[in-house]
């Protein structure tokens, strides 16, 4: 009995990935839990574990293959003690194919599992559709896999495609993060002016960044609101807290405090803790702050869940672990997918002020510049103060300017009177 090992969906939205590295060879015995391969998704490299034990009899997708669709058979495993079938006769429970629901499969019957297993279709389950349905779908840009067929045996017919392209086409682009990873990104072919250059193939992370940021800038009307925020009280508090927490091995960064400040500000101004989702507005009851981290493979945004209600020490500890994982490409999908707003800090590079691109489906991102000593008017007199610029980018479809301004005000208040952050 042979078991087909298929390209796993390592996150709910994953459609394809790169088979970065095989850690097993043909003929090798594997036990449940052994690492079979490393798979690079659009955000991270993940380890793929064996579920069944047996001997690897075939590796059908080579190391380094890109764009391997979820569900593609990547290897075959023979259960120990049995001879591997040369042609796998039927898929086994472990890799159960997604057959159409029983009640949509009348007497004409869906193709028997054997037929599926032996047909080496490279991209997963076969879509059963009439020639005309296929052509109309291609012309209308409708994905046949998103359609339920009403023809004999659940076959997709013309009427199904027409119904799908008329109304219910799944097109909530802004609401669905990371969907359509297979679509080509900005296929701009740069002209060659004879300047010496070296081309580097884009990795999946870079492709995803390109696609998402293009989507954000092209589809989201951004507005930008900037405030000066005085940091003296916060810096003082941070010093005191770090002294107090030294024994616990905790060292808070300014950023840790800003994460909490943004979380609390979002809860104070819930109109800014939202997502624009096509024909509805999603209002979040919790503030999850995505924090931009520069990883070697590119920008990634691990999340501090419920930042408003976590202690600063916990935020700090979590952030260290997440940043570490981000740098080694080991973040799990749940650790970077989601978030209700983002924080991006380029202060460590001396950047005074900048505007960040919204991270869809979120509706705001806070861009923080360097804290620096500036001449500052305090109580009617010129003084020296530590000040930073904070610029919020808001999705204007979801958030009005005045509401955005309220959020900036709340953020400023929380940073300037930072005792609220420890309460």
């Amino acid at each position: 009995m042979a078991i087909e090992i298929k390209m796993p969906a390592l996150s709910p939205t994953m459609e394809e990935g790169t088979l970065a590295k095989w850690l097993v060879k043909v003929g090798q015995s594997v036990a449940s839990g052994d690492i079979l391969a490393e798979i690079e998704t659009d955000k991270a490299t993940m380890e793929f574990e064996a579920v069944d034990e047996g001997v690897i009899t075939a590796i059908s997708v080579a190391e380094g293959s890109e764009g391997v669709k979820v569900g593609t058979v990547i290897a075959t495993l023979a259960v120990e003690g049995e001879v591997a079938d040369p042609v796998p006769s039927a898929p086994v429970a472990a890799s159960a194919p997604t057959l159409p629901a029983a009640d949509s499969a009348p007497d004409t019957a869906t193709p028997p599992p054997a037929a599926r297993a032996s047909s080496p279709a490279a991209n997963g389950d076969r879509v059963i559709a009439s020639p005309l349905a296929k052509r109309i779908a291609a012309q209308a840009g409708v994905d046949l896999r998103s359609i339920t067929g009403t023809g004999p045996g659940g076959r997709i017919v013309k009427a199904d495609v027409e119904a799908a392209s008329r109304g219910a086409a799944p097109r909530l682009a802004t609401a669905v993060p990371a969907v359509g990873a297979s679509q080509p990104t900005v296929a701009a072919v740069a002209p060659d002016f004879g300047i010496p250059y070296e081309s580097e193939k884009l990795n999946n992370v870079r492709k995803t960044i390109a696609r998402r940021l293009t989507e954000a800038k092209q589809t989201i009307p951004h507005i930008y609101l900037t405030v000066d925020v005085r940091l003296d009280a916060l810096l003082k508090l941070r010093g005191e807290l770090n002294t107090a927490l030294e024994a616990d091995g905790v060292k808070l960064s300014v950023n840790d405090l800003l994460i909490k400040a943004l979380g609390k500000a979002l809860l104070r101004v819930p109109k800014c803790n939202v997502s624009f989702a096509g024909d509805e507005l999603r209002k979040y009851a919790r503030a999850d702050v995505s924090v931009a981290v520069a990883a070697p493979s590119g920008l990634i945004t691990p999340i501090i869940v419920d930042a408003a209600n976590k202690g600063l020490a916990q935020i700090s500890t979590e952030m260290k672990v997440l940043a570490e994982k981000a740098k080694s490409g080991k973040l799990q999908p749940h650790e970077y997918q989601g978030g209700t707003a983002s924080l991006s800090n380029l202060g460590m590079f001396g950047i005074k002020q900048f505007e960040a691109v919204i991270n869809p489906p979120q509706a705001m991102i806070m861009a923080v510049g360097a804290g620096e000593q500036r001449p500052y008017v305090v109580d009617g007199a010129l003084a020296i103060a530590s000040v930073m610029c904070a610029t919020g980018s808001f999705d204007h479809r979801a958030i009005d300017g005045a509401d955005g301004a309220q959020l900036m005000q709340a953020f400023k208040d929380l940073v300037e009177q930072p005792l609220g952050l420890v309460a």
């Binding site: 009348p106 007497d107 009439s130 020639p131 005309l132 052509r135 109309i136 012309q139």
Partner: protein, 470 residues
């Protein structure tokens, strides 16, 4: 409860008996009620016996042209009585076949006139008396009859309907056929071949008006060449019947009235549904001009009462009735709890039509004109019989095959054929259409050589400017 059924079918024509068989196959307890002949009109007085007559006419026609095939035949004549006798024996053989099918499927046959008396209740009346039946579901499949002209009621002597025309005692010397639909044209063709002098009067601008305009024009030329007189855009205003013949007042296209003499007239101006006196009104079953309103599965507005075939909206064709019978039987089985049946509504665009005149006519889907009127960008291709080896070998070089495609999607919208054996060819396109083919699959299909079917391939190629043999 001997007379308590899951399903009672009223009428045993091609709709009714097929519905009964399908329901019995699905395990239902089924009875069928028939007032006259098992198999209904189709089998006893319609499709089948006329095909037997037309086959005789065709053989006769070929015999008369024996010399064209290098054969000699003298003293060729038709024996009308023997031709009719053969036709009747064909009908009888099939009628007995239906009786056998009912028995085999354990379907109870009640001979007599059926009538719905209440929801789930019927009575059957025959010369032995009245019998009450009850059923969870009832299918009305009582069919239709020829429509009469108000000024010329059929008498079976000089004024015939299809039914009289099928069992002539004598060959009409000069025959008037009113109406050029399938029935009118088939009888015109039969009697013309048998030796009658035939005149066809059609009110509309062309004969076989449901067919593609090119087909109508081609057929008219062919029939005129065979000696028929065809008056289109003309109407019969009055008919005077005497013991020696008929005089008809005919208003021609240009409005002129002419008095013409005939020996007989066949009235083929359409059909009327048999929906009177079967109890529909009492149950409140919705009809429109006698035609029963149904949903996609044959369900009427009254729960448990279904209708199929010629009592429902057209096309009024036997194969449409049979198909509706299967759909209704499966929908009823499903309603009774069978989870393994999945009835599918019929797509009326995929119902073929056949006319067995000489040359034959067959079609499916939209004509070129209707496709354009429906807003399609049309690609049409035509291939003539003259370009086909088999047609020439058969001595049948007259006719063509036309295909109509949606230029944008490649959908096969319609196919229209005229010529020898096209009634046997059309189903190739019907299969393709039902499977939602595009031109690509048809072009990629290998057609056997030498056959008439090669023209089906060439016609598709012609639509895309790729025909090989023209």
């Amino acid at each position: 409860m001997a007379n308590d059924y899951d399903l009672v079918v009223l009428g045993s024509g091609p709709g009714g008996y097929v519905a009964a068989i399908r329901a019995a196959q699905l395990g239902l307890k089924v009875a069928i009620v028939e007032r006259e002949n098992l198999g209904g009109i189709c089998l006893n007085w319609g499709c089948i016996p006329t095909k037997a007559l037309l086959r005789s006419a065709e053989v006769f026609h070929t015999m008369k042209h024996a010399a064209a095939y290098g054969l000699a035949a003298d003293n060729i004549r038709a024996d009308l009585d023997a031709v009719v006798k053969r036709s009747r024996s064909v009908a009888k053989q099939l009628n007995q076949g239906i009786a056998h099918l009912m028995k085999k499927n354990k379907i109870t046959v009640h001979m007599g006139a059926g009538r719905l008396t209440a929801p789930r209740k019927l009575e059957v009346q025959n010369d032995k008396g009245t019998q009450a039946l009850s059923a969870k579901h009832i299918i009305v499949a009582t069919g239709a009859r020829a429509r009469d002209l108000p000024f010329a009621p059929a008498d079976g002597q000089r004024v015939w309907t299809y039914r009289h025309a099928m069992t002539p005692k004598e060959l009409p010397t000069k025959l008037l056929v009113i109406g050029s639909g399938a029935i009118g044209i088939e009888f015109a063709s039969f009697y013309n071949d048998m030796g009658s002098e035939v005149t066809v009067v059609e009110m509309l601008g062309r004969i076989v008006p449901v067919e593609d305009e090119d087909v109508s024009a081609f057929l008219e030329r062919a029939l005129v060449k065979q000696g028929m007189q065809i008056l289109t855009g003309a109407g019969v205003e009055a008919i005077n019947v005497s013991s020696v013949g008929i005089s008809a007042k005919i208003k021609s296209k240009d409005g002129k009235m002419a008095e013409m003499a005939f020996s007989h007239v066949i009235v083929a101006v359409g059909i009327a549904p048999n929906t009177e006196s079967i109890g529909l009104e009492a149950l409140g079953i919705k009809t429109e001009r006698g035609i029963i309103a149904v949903d996609d599965y044959g369900q009427t507005n009254v729960s448990g009462v279904w209708a199929i075939g010629d009592v429902t909206p057209g096309p009024w064709l036997a194969h449409k009735a049979s198909h509706e019978g299967v759909i209704a039987a499966e929908a009823i089985a499903k309603a009774l709890g069978n989870k393994d049946v999945h009835p599918h509504a019929m797509d009326k665009a995929n119902i073929p039509g056949c006319t067995y005149c000489h040359p034959q006519v067959a079609s499916v889907g939209l004509t070129e004109a209707k496709a354009k009127a429906a807003g399609y960008a049309v690609k049409a291709g035509t291939f003539p019989f003259m370009g086909n080896g088999k047609a020439i070998a058969l001595g049948e070089p007259e006719g063509f095959i036309k295909t109509v495609f949606d230029a944008n999607t490649g959908e096969l919208l319609g196919a229209h054929m005229i010529g020898a054996e096209v009634t046997e060819l059309i189903q190739g396109y019907v299969v393709g259409k039902t499977l939602e083919t595009t031109e690509t699959e048809l072009m990629a299909t290998v057609f056997p050589h030498p056959t008439l079917s090669e023209m089906m391939h060439e016609s598709v190629l012609a639509a895309y400017g790729k025909a090989l043999h023209i």
